[in-house]
Subunit: 466 residues, 2 copies
């Protein structure tokens, strides 16, 4: 019979336990913060009617996985968690407002796969729906801030801006409003690409490092000059930044909103060095209408913005007769976990197994398992080696799986009610002493014989489980 | 602009916080048990090459969502977690064996939607790969047993059987081996449909209650008689059941395997009333080759088998040059949660919010939020009401969201550094006293004034957070 070649689709990946352990640590930390703010979980289907997946803009729409189901209905895979939330708000008439939810689900994008960029990835969103006051935005920013702190990151920045200010700039520069999103996307590249590239893209285009041609927006010189004036505004502390943009554009709603956010953040005691106003932040999606915000980890800048979001007061209105204001942030969990690993801020455990019970006396198999039951009852995660290999192979198995402790019980030990505990984490020290990993595994080093009655205490002691 | 109608696809559902809170409680309990056995997590993509989704049988194959991606590659959505696991085993050459994993992910089936039956649902699987000894099966059964106990269910049964015994019966009855899966599926219906229906389906077919015609297998009378002899074996304790089937079929591997499982389960002290041998259990999927097992909750029989699985020693071989033995069980999480709710064994909380801070003095907004920060620091999940409605509306919001405590701080209270705590869970008692929900919400009953410095202790006291 012809064999099926085992393979994963391009852009998709299997996730093994080490990565899941790290991911769960990050997700549960953030979840705890979000729940402390009174946000509640929501989940929506992976599949939606195709017409529900809207609002992302032309570029993004190309990346939506769409197809027909067996009933010939046009459906698509979840592209983000914001459109489904908007649908939910419009669909259920008796939801309590404000509706504040977090959502942790995979999204699917037919994107060009790249290092660290996958076609299915876990998103973690938080949104407040039904509040037009930017206090809701300020609260999301505070929750982002506290999440990053809770993750143990010391050096980070949350950059905030307002689409209303950017729209003001479009007017100020006399640019056709239909071009605004394209201009925002170019401005947003300032940090990564530099001023010259941005100015070129606003004008006649440029050729990037790989030789690819990037089409320009062909703005007039005086329009580009005005944009330049805006993006060159001195980087300054919040209040000064707001004063200088007011000088340039005059008073406007967007500026007033940022002032209000600033007052909240200062009032609740958030470190003002960590939340800064940055007028080139635009965020990529078309649906933003007000404040936008994103977080970067200063010691892992290569991972880009690891959280980001903004206000979208007109997305929900696509599904109903009236607009409902909303704001929220999104986390690309996998990228954040990679960044956290780079910073050494997540555990590097392959799994959650504490003990491997090795089996030497085949006809006592049930005895080994009985012992495992006893350890489990005491909160010790215990695997019994199920294969029929010799003790050397069993210890290597424990070693490769990074299990910290192996138990060895032979005929003699059974008779004396004794267990040999081998502390496998002592291997670095012991390897140095005896210089040979293989010998160490087989030798009775790093080993201690204890009475069965003392076993649980001894193991907890080694594991520091108290 | 034309509005998009907000709607979910037929057979799919949005899951709100009450259901997610219940689901997380159930999942985390089982996960703790599985981890205590030394199983580690794995996740695989929602999308696979179409040819990877194999082994389920003709009937099931019709339910796989398949389509072409933009590159015209035939792909499909995950139908279960067993085929992807098999693919993983064949694909990664350096996995440590035995490979023991659990996996918690949604699966997709283009099934006929029905009450409680959805086209996307959460599955929770546990499998041991690389061990041909049925000790691996016994361990899975033990983990199922301990999971159900950990969930607090008192009355349940795990029914076990062996496909090898069923295959022996096919030989014993002189039935064409190619018909065996069809015969198994019919036998498996004995509990639900009764003996007459089973015999009819083995013979010339029948018409079911809804008037639908069910085609028979047209076995010969003497074949049907032999099957009947087998399925009518007296229901007895393990050892007697095994003895009586040995009398009928002679000694065979399948029986010996069940004896070994029985010795293990008895040895580790598992209640023998709760794990029983039942020769009509077959399980629906084609790929099983050895022991099969399933659990039912005796006080929620309508939910069918809430966990089930078996050994599949030839599925992985479809992806590689050799067979690799494997066994494992699957849980339909949503159905289990429904059953648990029926049994009153899961919390019925709408969310995890402890406190709502109501806002009456608009220009002190930041002060309310500062107080929230303080409560959160002390592990109290706190929402600040973000809308601009009056106090009555705010209290109703807390009430509808089942938030147990509301804080009320007016001008006077701010001056005196005092907070009024309203214990909203006291409403049943208070409603009885004052007889009017509306009045209760607005009245100063169930309310207590405390100093800000005592607030955290007082709240923890009410919530029993110790």
């Amino acid at each position: 019979m012809k064999k099926i070649e085992p393979r994963t689709l391009k852009g998709f990946k299997d996730i093994f336990s080490d990565e899941i352990v790290a991911r769960e640590e990050v997700v549960s930390t953030i979840k705890r913060v979000y729940e402390s703010y009174g946000f509640s979980p929501l989940a929506t289907p992976a599949l939606e009617y195709k017409d529900i997946l809207v609002g992302y803009g032309e570029e993004a729409n190309k990346q939506i996985y769409t197809f027909r189901d067996p009933d010939e209905i046009s459906i698509g895979l979840r592209y983000d968690l914001t459109s489904p939330l908007s649908r939910v708000i419009a669909q259920y008439k008796n939801l309590e407002m404000p509706f504040r939810r977090y959502q942790i689900q995979e999204v699917f994008r037919y994107d060009k796969p790249d290092k660290g960029r996958f076609r299915e990835f876990l998103q973690f969103d938080i949104d407040t729906v039904g509040i037009s006051s930017v206090i809701a935005d300020a609260e999301i920013i505070a929750a982002m801030y506290q999440s990053i702190k809770a993750l143990g990151v010391a050096r980070f920045k949350i950059r905030i801006n307002n689409r209303k200010i950017l729209e003001e700039v479009i007017r100020f520069a006399g640019i056709e409003p239909s071009l605004s999103h394209s201009v925002f996307r170019v401005i947003d590249k300032l940090d990564k690409q530099g001023l010259d590239a941005v100015l070129a893209e606003l004008g006649e285009g440029r050729v990037d490092a790989s030789g690819a041609e990037i089409r320009g927006l062909f703005l007039k010189k005086e329009q580009i000059d005005k944009i330049k004036e805006f993006i060159m505004l001195p980087q300054a502390a919040q209040k000064e930044a707001l004063d200088s943009v007011t000088l340039l554009l005059g008073d406007c709603e967007g500026i007033e909103e940022l002032r209000e956010i600033d007052r909240y953040l200062e009032g609740v005691g958030i470190d003002e060095d960590k939340v800064v106003i940055d007028f080139v932040v635009a965020r990529g999606l078309d649906y933003y209408t007000g404040p936008v915000y994103e977080a970067i980890l200063l010691d892992a800048p290569g991972y880009g913005s690891i959280m980001g979001g903004g206000r979208y007061d007109r997305l929900i209105g696509q599904f109903m007769d009236k607009d409902i204001p909303a704001t929220g942030a999104s986390i690309g969990v996998d990228r954040l976990v990679l960044a956290m690993q780079k910073l050494g801020l997540v555990k590097r455990r392959k799994n959650n197994i504490d003990v491997l019970i090795t089996c030497m006396v085949r006809d006592k198999l049930v005895e080994y398992h009985k012992l495992a039951f006893k350890l489990r009852e005491n909160g010790i995660n215990t695997e019994v080696y199920l294969g029929e290999e010799g003790i050397g192979k069993q210890l290597k198995y424990a070693d490769k799986k990074d299990i910290p402790i192996a138990l060895i019980i032979g005929e003699d030990e059974f008779k004396e009610d004794i267990v040999s505990i081998k502390d496998l984490r002592a291997k670095e020290r012991i390897e140095k002493e005896i210089g040979d990993r293989k010998k160490w595994l087989e030798a009775r080093v790093g080993q201690k014989r204890v009475k069965v009655s003392q076993l649980v205490d001894e193991i907890k002691n080694i594991l520091n489980l108290g």
